[in-house]
Symmetry: C2
Subunit: 305 residues, 2 copies
Amino acid sequence: MLSLHQLTCFLTTYEHRSLTRAAEELGYAQPSISEQVRNLEKSLGVQLFRRVGRGVVPTTVADTLRPHAEKVLAAVDEAEHAVAGARSLETGTIRFGMFGAARFYAGAGLVADVLGRYPGVRVELVGQNSADVAEHLRRGHLEAAMIAVGNLESEGLAITPVARDELVYISADPDRLAAPVTAHRLAQASLVMAETTWRQTDSTRVVLRRMLHDTGRNPPTRIEVEEIETAVELVERGLADSVINKGAALQLLPRLAPSAGWVPLRPRQYDTYAVVHRADATLSPAARLMIALATERIQTIAEPL
Amino acid sequence: MLSLHQLTCFLTTYEHRSLTRAAEELGYAQPSISEQVRNLEKSLGVQLFRRVGRGVVPTTVADTLRPHAEKVLAAVDEAEHAVAGARSLETGTIRFGMFGAARFYAGAGLVADVLGRYPGVRVELVGQNSADVAEHLRRGHLEAAMIAVGNLESEGLAITPVARDELVYISADPDRLAAPVTAHRLAQASLVMAETTWRQTDSTRVVLRRMLHDTGRNPPTRIEVEEIETAVELVERGLADSVINKGAALQLLPRLAPSAGWVPLRPRQYDTYAVVHRADATLSPAARLMIALATERIQTIAEPL
DNA sequence: GCCAGCCCTAGGCTTTCCCTATATCTCGGG
DNA sequence: CCCGAGATATAGGGAAAGCCTAGGGCTGGC
């Protein structure tokens, strides 16, 4: 079988027109180079050098092989450099999981942070929902993620809470914003809720269900939509109220619902943001970087834990 | 150290997302593939796959490495094909030695023969003079050659005569062409001779010297030139006569010296054409091809031996 | 909760790698 | 013409890598 070492020995011998000098340059004994070249000739089925008295002379087949051998070694070199670049985060891809709502806190800013420090990398922020992200982690497609966890239970995943964010009640009706919203009042509200597809695992809903559990009711969701922006716009039109993260409210209300406002729940409810990865994993430098940056950014907005 | 085998194992594992299936495809036991991939990761200093329960999942570094690994293996494939092509004479270079005068008999036609049968090859006909060619053979730069040998002696070279060609006297003066030229008359002639640089070893001159040896004289060369064409033109102008190969005379006189003619020497003198190669060499297919074609072509013009 | 699938580890056999020592050959010089 | 320097080939042995079988542990599906 043809090997890289054989090609290296061949090229060095070709350049020096000498097995002995090739051996010196490569740091081997002369018979070793001789053996490698002989094996290469054997595996190719052709003579590459004529052994002629003092020294060796390349055949025309050696002339033919040379540029190809150089190309192979150059490609190997490129491969090694590419990996080294990815290792030092100069190039390559950094993939990080991020739950939808977390984007309001750390999405664009986090990407900017990474690109600012490592301009050569590609960044992938994947995951639409915490359950989605957890599945990616479980299957190994993601190394680590920052997600909102309503319920802190999970098998095989190491969860490190880093910040909490309050859930607030938003409405276009000033009367309903006069005082903090209790579980009792919440149970009577007419709500629009986002993340329909993930309604079972969406962390906001998990928190609300727990809050209402004492009253024995489910959150009264009159309207189900996918995008939180859609929900906010419906609130603006007065078609329903909603409960969303405070961070999202601060960002979205001025833009999408200028006539709406927000009040806390009573008792106050919190979504928890946490770093998650497989419990048994040893994290790569890239993952540790993303965790640090995402944590920092989340904690500048939400309340650190 | 990184190896081709490691890259192969990596790529197959990458494609199948499984060490076991990669092992099946490559025909190895699964632990062998595991070891190769582990060694590749170790030599690159990065993790390429996350071992996650059932199967393995490529990391982003693996995504980065993959195209480079493919390029390396493709380059290896190209190298092997290039050598195979050269081996079967579909591509590559055929280098063959040929003494200057032999070109009149086999030069262009020989090249045409080779290209007709193997359209993809490059052909190099090297050598200006028999001594020059012999030196190339001795140093191993040439594998085999067809040369004119005035003296059949040589150390370490295997010489196989294949044809002989008569030397003829050419002149623009009809009087001097009335009868065959004896050594006595030749010694009185005023000659122009080609191949000045190689005058000591030029086979024509060696033959003439031997012819004149009985008279104790050297050939009376009045004019020395390099190119035989120049010599023929000088003959046309009547400035001197010359002795050249009959084959060259038949080709050159009509074109360059229409008013000149030729007569044999007495006794007739012959140049011998021979296949030459290193005595210890085992000839490549390409060399054997060239020898066969050159011999055939020479023997259609000169007198076979 | 069991079973099947997949990966890892362990141990041993085989091959490759690479070394030193030695033989053979060529070339150049006395 | 022989002899020494220089270059390659051969021989043999120790170290390392490759590869296999057997078995252990973990995961995921039924």
